[in-house]
Subunit: 670 residues, 2 copies
């Protein structure tokens, strides 16, 4: 069964939960990001993204004017990121910012594409078209399009694949170009991306005289498969397959480029061994899940069983050994990397927003390979928790790192936690997370649904309208729900009679299969791998009522997660909860959950919309004793004093929206 994400233009999301997020992206994030790309936000580090495209364009103009007399720049390395002392000092023909700065435009245009697909906006489209003109004007006649080397000297282009993100920029350009093309039908940027990919196809490969390398930061792999599926051009598939197959083959390309790496396994770039031999998720978490997503694409497209095996092993490695309860991945800030199995510290967590987004990419692709909720449960978990936590409720500040426990003083005074911020930050010098959230949220409809020829898979529950085509007949599916506040979902299916249409509803694992589904005059449906398949539609309109048991739960981690020993966390449906100082006072660590665990739910509107908070019977404990040293730090214990408290918990994604304070997901249980 071939499963595709639903074409985003065939889904309209009108949902109490998600519309707030998509509107925030449309009204706040995308416009703000455009200002950032153009260095018009005084308090943010200038991006120089559009500046660089203009500078490269100027060079092209010069080249065309001078013809044979044109003297191309000779490359000299100026550093991973270059900033002028003052923005005003920037020269119009120089490159500034991080050397992967081009990708900021691509991420923006991708979000714009998704947004336009579901919410046409002439003004925004005009701005986007103008930006595309600037970008395309920077492209070299041979198709190459990375402003860092165009401006600084092409003689060293592709000379540092490990660190100089040209192929990463190409990958993002493709993703953005395809999204914009699919939304608007305009192919100018798509053609530019194709020409860049054609150039790369000519330069990279196994053949003699070609570069035998592969991307230092993966993404080109999945992007090229997407370009292949959009255009049907075999060479993009070939190039993507080459990148995946070549990775980690001996002699290791990056050791050749960087001889100092010899002898140390290159986990960071997932280039230590060939991908088909990889079974443990290692290294930089974002790089890893981008690679695994490309591998899953390849397994689907080529039917490579060995590669599928690796994908499944890597998935299990993440989900069974290396994932926070929030769907966060990457437990250590050292290399923004996966740590060893079961090492999931809460207070020094990295759990980068982008890494969880990459996990969603991987999950969707794994579902295409194997139709099981084991993938989409995790997709939902990451989305509602570790990803949405990345953006403030006003869409104006962002978390890069998503810790599960915060003591603000420690973040400020302990260098080991300096990556952990107690409040969201305006924008980052290396700004991957905000645009990544933007592109994911804008296209959430494409994650909510998947389709095969005759089946609509409902992965996520949100108010929406879907048009599904079966053999030229259009079926309209309307979903109404207050999810995740409520577990009730109503689905109208119109026009399915006689089409062989099937509805496949995900029964999340967290329900423990406690659900009811009223299918009216239809059969009850069959549960398979966590999906309830309902078929036999015979009337013009059918109504299906699904109710998922949405009760609060106490949850604990595998005992091998030593950081969570003796602790429990709280969930309700897919939503992970946390306690904040704002509701519970300082010193959250002195609070213990009473046994038996008693959780009440309450509807809350203090965030400006309805959300469900929890109240748990707990006690604030203190130890009683006599002083024994003159030191007041340590005392003889005599007894425990317990003062009962109701611990208030809010959805994790909403934390740090009411000022700075302590936060914790886990609590000791007495």
């Amino acid at each position: 069964m071939e499963i595709r994400p639903l074409d985003i233009k065939r889904v309209t999301v009108e949902d109490s939960f998600w519309s707030r997020e998509t509107e925030l992206v449309r009204k706040e994030v995308i416009p703000y990001q455009w200002e950032i790309l153009n260095d018009r936000v005084p308090e943010a580090t200038p991006s120089f993204c559009m500046h660089n495209f203009r500078a490269a364009g100027l060079l092209g103009k010069k080249m065309r004017t001078l013809g044979r007399d044109f003297e191309p720049p000779r490359y000299t390395y100026k550093g991973f990121a270059v900033f002028p002392d003052k923005k005003e000092d920037a020269k119009e023909d120089e490159f500034y910012g991080f050397l992967f700065q081009d990708s900021d435009f691509s991420k923006w245009i991708e979000a714009v594409g998704y947004s336009l697909a579901v919410h046409p906006d002439k003004e925004l489209e005009k701005i986007a078209d103008g930006a595309i003109d600037t970008v395309c004007a920077a492209q070299l006649p041979n198709g190459y399009l990375d402003t860092y080397y165009i401006i600084n000297g092409m003689d060293k282009s592709f000379s540092d694949l490990r660190d100089h993100h040209e192929l990463y920029c190409m990958g993002h350009l493709i993703e953005g170009a395809v999204a914009y093309y699919e939304a608007t039908g305009k192919d100018k940027l798509l053609n530019a991306a194709k020409r860049f990919a054609d150039y790369v196809y000519g330069v990279f490969g196994r053949e003699e005289g070609k570069i035998h390398g592969y991307p230092g930061h993966e993404i080109a792999e999945m992007a090229l498969f997407r370009l292949y599926e959009t255009t049907g051009e075999e060479r993009y598939r070939e190039l993507a397959e080459y990148f995946i197959d070549q990775r980690g083959q001996a002699p290791l390309y990056f050791e050749n480029e960087h001889p100092e790496m010899k002898g140390r396994p290159d986990y960071y770039h997932q280039a230590h061994i060939p991908v088909r031999e990889q079974t443990e998720a290692v290294g930089h978490a974002v790089r890893a899940v981008y690679l695994y997503s490309g591998m899953a694409d390849m397994a689907r497209i080529t039917g490579d069983r060995e590669l599928l095996g690796s994908c499944k092993a890597l998935w299990d490695s993440i989900v069974n050994e290396k994932m926070y309860i929030t769907g966060g991945i990457g437990a250590t800030h050292i290399g923004e990397s996966f740590s060893f199995p079961f090492d999931l510290p809460n207070d020094t967590a990295y759990a980068e927003t982008c890494a969880s987004i990459g996990l969603v990419f991987f999950a969707r692709r794994m579902f295409s390979l194997e139709q099981s909720r084991k993938y989409t449960d995790i997709m939902e978990l990451a989305l509602y928790n570790g990803i949405l936590s990345g953006m403030a409720l006003d869409g104006k500040s962002f978390f890069y790192v998503n810790p599960l426990e915060v003591l603000p003083e420690a973040c400020k005074k302990d260098e080991r936690k300096e990556h952990v911020k107690p409040v969201r930050q305006k924008w980052f010098g290396c700004a991957c997370c905000p645009p990544n959230i933007a592109r994911l949220v804008s296209s959430v409809g494409a994650y909510a649904y998947g389709e095969s020829d005759d089946t609509l898979f409902v992965h996520l529950y949100m108010g929406s309208k879907i048009r599904k085509n079966i053999s030229g007949r259009e079926i309209e599916i309307t979903v109404k729900t207050d999810y995740p506040n409520s577990g009730k979902v109503g689905i109208d299916v119109k026009g399915a009679a006689g089409t062989g249409f099937r509805l496949a509803l995900r029964i999340p694992g967290w329900t423990s299969d406690n659900y009811t589904c009223d299918t009216g005059s239809l059969n009850d449906g069959t549960l398979d791998e966590g999906y309830l398949y309902i078929g036999g539609f015979k009337d013009d309109l059918h109504h299906v009522s699904l109710e998922l048991e949405m009760k609060p739960r106490a949850v604990f981690a595998d005992p091998r997660v030593s950081e969570d020993a003796q602790k429990i966390a709280f969930m309700r449906g897919p939503v992970v909860y946390c306690a904040e100082e704002k509701d519970n006072g300082k010193n959250l660590k002195s609070i213990v959950i009473s046994r038996p665990v008693d959780i009440k739910e309450k509807t809350d509107s203090e965030f400006g919309f309805e959300s469900v908070s929890l109240e748990v019977s707990a006690a604030r404990r203190s130890f009683e004793g006599a002083e024994f040293f003159e030191s007041t730090l340590y005392r003889d214990y005599s007894d425990v004093r317990e003062d009962p408290v109701d611990l208030k918990l809010i959805p994790y994604a909403l934390w740090a929206n009411r000022g700075e304070g302590e936060m914790s997901v886990y609590f000791f249980i007495t």
Copy 2:
């Protein structure tokens, strides 16, 4: 009242506990260290310490032969540490190793001095004399004696006070020279140290044309006060006072040397503000306590009340906010430094052995200023726990870092914990801790006792004989005890009749003043600041029987220590306990202490001598629940399962003597 440490030659320690340690140092550590200094231990990084003295001596010979034709080396920086590819490749006239390598000799000769003082050994003395000849042959005619600059070029000597430890080496040389002089009466090395100090006195100071700097790594301060008190030469006192007074004065000397430091407070070197304004212990912990020790010396010698105030504030800052229960200090490996108040992580602790040793130096000096157990309680705590833990029971391996919780896998796989070792290491490239333990243990008698004109202060209880002089009459005090296994101490005082002699016995704070003292025919004594003063000796022989209540106790940390929230530790007398995997199995974190706390003591002989272990009623807990995600990492909680266990605890200082495994000092309490 002026308090002095007792002259080490007037104490003979013959104690079931301490003699084992001092014999280990005498028979294992000192000889091994001598091999190390001479690069004769194949498995250890060569030290090049004696090599460098020989190389500098060769240069001197050349200088004397060539006279005016001698061309001195011009300085070029070769790095903080230089090692040849192979030991055999070392050139006889080159400097190798760390640039503070000279100090390894000084620490060794200091330990040798203390050892010879209490245990004459002709063979060792001969070796030491030979070494001293080599060292003295390296000294320049002007008195300068740091082989790094003698060999590499004197033109840059004292040009990098912050990082190039010349004054640190001088400090250690003085400490070693005085110890050796006091033990043997031989003054060759003492004279060399004086000449070096004279040279420095001529070069440093407030006067124009002199260097206005001070040591980057403190120790010269307390060493110079010691030299002053040994020789009576005022200029050493002056120089020490200058170093202390000048430190942190604006303009900051290190900012001048290292302009990149401008604008960041120099906590690391305790040079952010003048010392009299310092109230919080900050920066590199060893540097800090060495400085504070020098400050306390100065406060005593000069009677400077303001300086005394700073010393007291800094003491309180350490002891009330920044000290582990083991007497370990320096909570972060970043800069081997103090962290912010109450930040005392157990698993990433630094708690360097040397820092606790420095705390003992500081404590002894504070006691000279203020006769209170508040200082000597901490001295005892550090000695019996965080310092002795530094050395293996066979004297052949050492901990630099003394964590309070260890998961061996994490130490190996988590870069954030790579400073934490689950077993002691043979020897370190930067080998400060082993010789520091050696010199402290060898002179433990001088820490056990202090004296004023008429009083003998007994700080630590150990089997020993002391000769105390009052106005030309010799009193003999004999102490017999099994401390710390038992709290019973018997003291014979002979020849005190009519001398006005007073015995001042420390009643440790951990007894909560539960003790009995049978003074026979004498008055009961008066308790003041934790010392029981017994006087009125009228017979030739008096026997005093002291019994300190030595019962096991559960102990907890200030609730502001968030890492220890909900946890208790165990002590008995001054001894902190820990649990090891060896006795209790893996996954120590699943064990919780049952309430009410029930602790039994047992005599144990598995370490080759009698020690007291504890057994605590506890439970191994596991959470029961159903799987809910397909992921096995997180599950719905339904109940707690508790399997009763007896948690076995051993003295913390003995951990990691039975192979590698988990260790923990703190445990959750239900």
